[in-house]
Amino acid sequence: MLIFMVRRFGTMALTMLVVSILVFLLLEINVESVATKVLGPYTSQEQRELWLERNGYTDPAIWRYLRWLGNFVVGDFGDSVRFKVPVSDVLWPRLANTAILGGIALFIASIIGLTLGVIAGMREGGARDRGVSVGAVLTTSVPEFASAVFLSGLLVFTWPVLPGTSGMADGFDLVQLVLPVMVLVIYDWGYVARMTRASMAEVMMTHYIRTAVLKGLPYGQVIRKHALRNALIAPFTVIMLQINWLLSGVIVVEVAFAYKGFGSLLYEASLNSDIYLIEACAMVAVFVAVMTQTLADIGYTYLNPRIRFS
């Protein structure tokens, strides 16, 4: 188990290394465009060259990469062009905001998804199963920006019960979180539910469930002790991987509701060609994603005795 974890974290570090190379190649290999983006399009050629020289951009790419990477590892992401402050000053508070939004959404979506998935999978092809399946297909077919429009049309304009933006101008306000969370939950619960349903339905077909029933166990005990444990191993991984998808959705939702989170930060950065900010956001996003994947793998191994003891 320990070897496995060491390996898994090793793979994670390697992934991050390759991702950093990729990000560097995409955004920094062309020094001309770096200068243009940092100094703006209306600067003269001499100004840019001077800037490049002063900031070490005339060094070979490999040196620049290593220096860049070194700075990254110690948390120095450079200065944001747009906010004129160190990137880390804007990044961390925004990330905390996103963690709140994403965390609540993930929690609710998982609870709904798991519950409905288990109920649907218990009796495959039954009325409940069909109901849940149809509901899941319907809601996962609506993109986040579309449900944002639908929901604000209903709850902001037609029946004004909720605020239309979530800027949190006057401090943290839970009411402003309702719409963004709803949008994320609507898109995400269906996926969790479908995976849970499939897993549950598969477990219900297995021979060991038949064994449990024919042992004379009460139905509730068969479900609780025999089915759930096995059926929830796969959805656990799905939920952890869902964080990766959630990060995408979060960008849309934050933009749609002007929520001051990490996603809208990345969005603004990309609109303003704020490359150091983009780089930092990308690296942090990938780090979060890779970290959850690693935890998912370790958790899966822990939950599954067939892997744990072999």
Binding site: H207, L217, K225, I233, R306
Partner: protein, 703 residues
């Protein structure tokens, strides 16, 4: 152990005119029709039949667990005199696992992978009786000891995948016995296990029956197992019982043509490919929705009479003077079995020719390396798996050499080296005068590849479902350069279909439109497409039903004789091997432990492993006396084989430490018969035959 029902002294279980149907999109499909059975306390009834005959459905109906689409549509199941239809859900739950318990076909699948075995066992008494956890633990532990599992405490605390298949099945049996049930249903409990492990389980079941006086319903496709476990038998065919009676009556004086046919299909010790060939049943099992009217066996029966046998309302009739022996046949009294001599298959003497394939000291080791990127960083770890160790034997033209052994003995690896999918680690494989041990298949010439071909095990897997039969055969013909002209290729495809006795229009069909036996025939045609001198057949009939097995085996032998092909026949089925092989090679954990002519190997002196294997094979013949040799312990892992003689951990004839330290010498009791064992020649010569026929039976094949 609910006491009130134990006082009942009538039959434990009675099925009266039971009819069970499945309801699918295509409509109602009757699975079991008009099923009758009476099981007395302490009795044991076998249900025997081929796949799809409804035997497992009966067991599930007794448990009243038919799934969402199955239902009892007629008749009754009486448990201790009470109609089970009147049981409430709760009563039914109390009955299951407590009064009626079940043992399943696949032990691994029947156990919950994420619960410890102890927890799964303790559930049974905890749920049916009002006892404490400690009491439940003690009972479960004791029961594990009763089913002869070593170290019950360890077993209680581990997960299913941590013990072997044989041990898993013992746990399932222990689980079934925990509440001391009155009725035990066993659904093919040994089918997924190796022969030597099977023998242990069968012995255990016998002990249980004696010790607990449990009534049993034993479901199997294997007549030999029924003989060893049951006192009565119901022979089923396509949803109906065609013959029922005591085991002796049915096995010695069978009346139904299907029962007779079934026995003709299995290679009993008396059968011999030249003197007493197998007699296949023609045709194939009807699909449940395509059953003929009247007798379902009619279209395959040699005694079929139009206007009589295809009339409906066919019922069981009792054999006079044999109460309880019933037959479902209109004509059984008219049939004169003495003058019935059906034509057998694969008959005729053959003469082996020159050596075609010579294997000399061939070794195949696998290097187990962890190739993942993580392992490359942490440093590689290499282990060796000795899949084949010093394999040497010759095969001549027109000769059948059987390679026998249980799972993990290295049969498949050996086949891969022969076919060039792997190269040998050491030694020589001389084929048609050239060493091919280092030639991968891509480096072999089309002639070389075409002259050594293979027949595979699984009929549902052997043909590509995406291409037509004709296209697949044509590809082989073109690939081996047999023909290149389009018309000639088509001509050759047709010839091949003729060869395996399939209609020519099958060329246009896709594999899913073919039955298992037909697919296997196409597989044979494919192997013979390149005019091979040698064909390697890897368990070619073991996945087929008994009645189809004989036909396919016969076909294979016919073709072999016609083309004077060398046949390397890989099998675990010793009865079949005895029937068709000229020479036998017995393997255990990658080593050849014994080889010689079939007569040599099947008669003493034996290698102790061969002796145990022979003893383990169930034989459906009441006149055969077997010595019981049950192997202890598990099959060791190939990655970590025992030192010295690989068989020493399980050998009942182990002499002492020499077996653990030294590789046994190869001795030759008679020229050509080699045994790798430390036993002295004297000890070997004193061995008694494992299988003895009673004097009135036919002479054994080994003479």
């Amino acid at each position: 152990m609910s006491s009130q029902s134990h006082s009942f002294d009538g039959p434990v279980l009675e099925c009266r005119d039971l009819c069970i149907s499945y309801f699918t999109r295509a409509g109602e499909i009757p699975a079991v029709i008009d099923f009758n059975m009476t099981l007395e306390q302490g009795g044991s009834i076998g249900l025997v039949g081929e796949s799809g005959c409804g035997k497992s459905t009966v067991a599930m109906a007794i448990m009243r667990y038919l799934g969402g689409n199955g239902a009892i549509v007629g008749g009754q199941v009486l448990y201790k005199g009470r109609d089970m239809a009147t049981f409430s859900e709760e009563e039914l739950r109390q009955l299951r696992g407590n009064e009626i318990a079940m043992v399943y076909q696949e032990p691994m699948a029947s156990l919950n992978p994420s619960m410890t075995l102890g927890a799964q066992l303790m559930e049974v008494p905890l749920c049916h009786e009002n006892i404490t956890e400690e009491e439940a633990y003690k009972r479960s532990r004791q029961m594990l000891a009763d089913v002869n599992l070593p170290d019950p405490d360890r077993i209680m605390s581990v997960y299913p995948h941590q013990i072997s298949g044989g041990q898993q099945q013992r746990v399932v049996i222990a689980m079934a016995l925990l509440s001391n049930p009155s009725l035990l249903l066993l659904d093919e409990p040994t089918t997924a296990l190796d022969v030597t492990v099977e023998a242990g389980i069968i012995e255990l079941i016998g002990q249980i029956a004696r010790k607990f006086n449990t009534s049993m319903v034993y479901i199997s496709h294997n007549l030999g197992l029924i003989l060893e476990t049951c006192d009565r038998v119901n022979v089923m065919y396509s949803g109906v019982v065609v013959e029922s009676g005591t085991v002796t009556e049915v096995f010695d004086h069978m009346r139904h043509p299907y029962t007779k046919g079934l026995f003709g299909c299995i290679p009993l010790p008396g059968a011999d490919k030249t003197a007493r060939p197998l007699v296949p049943i023609r045709g194939q099992l009807p699909l449940p929705h395509q059953r003929p009217s009247g007798c379902y066996f009619g279209p395959r029966c040699d005694f079929f009479q139009g206007g009589l046998c295809d009339r409906d309302d066919l019922t069981m009739t009792q054999v006079p003077n044999e109460p309880g022996h019933d037959v479902r046949c209109r004509r059984w009294q008219e049939i004169d079995w003495d003058s019935y001599h059906p034509e057998g298959v694969g008959a005729g003497e053959t003469q082996a020719g020159e050596v075609v394939l010579s294997i000399n000291n061939m070794k195949k080791y696998y290097e187990l390396t962890d190739n993942s990127i993580a392992a490359m960083i942490t440093g590689k770890r290499v282990r060796y798996v000795k899949a084949n160790e010093s394999i040497s034997f010759d095969a001549r033209s027109c000769e059948t050499v059987a390679i026998v052994g249980e799972s993990g003995c290295g049969k498949s690896t050996f086949a891969k080296v022969l076919m060039g999918l792997e190269t040998a680690t050491d030694g020589k494989v001389v084929f048609n005068g050239k060493d091919i041990s280092q030639e991968e298949v891509q480096n072999r010439t089309p002639e070389q590849v075409g002259s050594m071909q293979m027949i595979f095990q699984n009929p549902f897997d052997t043909l590509n479902p995406s291409h037509t039969v004709g296209a697949q055969l044509a590809r082989v013909i073109r690939k081996f350069g047999v023909e290149s002209n389009k018309d000639r290729i088509e001509q050759r495809v047709m010839e091949l279909l003729d060869l395996v006795k399939l209609p020519r229009e099958f060329a246009r069909r896709r594999p899913r439109q073919l039955s298992g036996g037909q697919k296997q025939r196409v597989g044979i045609a494919r192997a013979f497409a390149g005019n091979p001198t040698t064909v390697v057949a890897d368990e070619p009939v073991s996945a087929l039903d008994v009645s189809v097995q004989a036909a396919v085996t016969g076909l294979l032998m016919d073709i072999q004789k016609t083309y004077r092909t060398t046949l390397i026949f890989i099998s675990h089925d010793l009865s079949l091997v005895r029937y068709l092989a000229d020479r036998v090679v017995v393997m255990y954990l990658g080593h050849i432990v014994e080889q010689g002519t079939t007569d040599d190997v099947f008669a003493p002196p034996y290698h102790p492993y061969t002796e145990a294997l022979l003893s383990a094979v169930p034989i459906a013949d009441t006149s055969v006396e077997k010595t019981r040799i049950i192997l202890e312990g598990n099959l060791p892992s190939v990655t970590n084989p025992p030192t010295g003689c690989v068989f020493n951990t399980r050998c009942p004839r182990k002499i002492g430490s020499v077996c653990e330290t030294e590789v046994p010498p190869v001795v030759e009791p008679t020229p050509g018969h080699q045994i790798a064992c430390h036993l002295s020649m004297e000890d070997l010569r004193q061995m008694k035959p494992v299988i003895v026929m009673a004097e009135d039976a036919a002479p054994p094949a080994a003479e």
